[in-house]
Subunit: 211 residues, 2 copies
């Protein structure tokens, strides 16, 4: 999904722990003890510490010196923050990606859309959702922007899973997605951008109202 092979031990550990945090298997504020994790992954504490730094940069854990690392807390304000950041950045990315969109890109976007339609579990739906938004902006070829958006998408997924767990809330956004694809096919970039911004803000509003 992400991209790199993660040939290094620290990278593998960071990915595994990160998935647990996003899925909700690791609860907010849960302490992460480096020696336990090292034992679990048959490694020493050195790669674990490196993995912690990586997760810290993704805002998935918080570290306080001499007191170790905990799963980052989940507060309601971050829903709004992440939505606003995503709305602003995805529009920039889409505006830069749109002129470079080929028919094969459009096909990939539509594929993610269909996968969202046929998704049975919320995990499958969220994976398709990530794939859609990623395919939408990937052609912009702005690596730093794409990395930021990947991080925001992961944080967003974490919030979605947490809300699904606590209140059975389930996002429905494929109709929005379909309209965005339609606007792009019609080469109407302005409309696609405004639909995208509205779409992301709508998700935020739904999430906040259901809490």
């Amino acid at each position: 999904m992400t991209d790199d092979e993660n040939t290094t031990t620290a990278g593998r550990i960071a990915e595994a722990i990160g998935e647990r945090i996003i899925s909700g298997e690791l609860q907010p504020d849960a302490p992460l003890r480096q020696d336990h994790i090292a034992r679990e992954f048959n490694s020493s504490h050195v790669p674990v510490r490196e993995a912690f730094r990586q997760l810290q940069a993704q805002h998935l854990v918080v570290a306080v010196p001499r007191r170790g690392v905990r799963v980052a807390p989940l507060n309601i304000n971050s829903v709004k923050e992440i939505a606003e950041m995503r709305a602003a950045l995805e529009v920039v990315a889409l505006r830069n990606a749109a002129p470079k969109l080929t028919s094969s890109h459009l096909a990939r976007i539509e594929l993610a859309l269909i996968e969202g339609d046929t998704a049975q579990t919320i995990q499958e739906f969220e994976m398709a959702n990530r794939a859609f938004h990623h395919a939408l902006v990937a052609p912009c070829a702005m690596p730093r922007l794409l990395a930021s958006l990947d991080g925001l998408q992961l944080a967003n997924s974490r919030l979605v899973f947490a809300m699904a767990r606590s209140s059975g809330w389930r996002p429905r956004s494929n109709q929005d997605h379909r309209l965005i694809l339609q606007a792009l096919r019609a080469r109407n970039v302005d409309q696609a951008c405004s639909l995208l911004a509205r779409h992301i803000q709508t998700i935020e509003r739904l999430a906040l109202s259901s809490s």
Copy 2:
């Protein structure tokens, strides 16, 4: 400047190396050997590796497994990318900060403006520039957004120092800053936001035309 005391060895190393990269003392693509750095800071290689991960997250170095770490390259495309990201995110931050701006906030913004006027070296000017933009958005109280903007400001400073070094280019933006402060004093948030966005894009255009 940043905020934390950096009581940990890895944090100190990351900060020191980061400053060298931003100032241009460490050239793009220069290899960073962990054992050399460990000797320099009287530490072992373990904290150095943690510092590398932190710098990697800031996009100041690139790491390829089994081949170590190098100073991140400086390419002309990243000027545009960083400017577009900053313009989009700073506007979001300012819009959220504006309603919370007190007179003491405004005084702090003006202080940074004056420091920019009296700056003698480009280092002083850039420090005042960072202080201005930071003071402008800090009251928004969105930690993730502020962290992103800090990273983008650092990347921007690195570009400024590199261009000052290669072509004697020197940014002049205090007039823009003054107009933004004026609009905020008049409680004209929309105008302040549009001035800010235009300001950041103008810097990008100047930079690209002088290269």
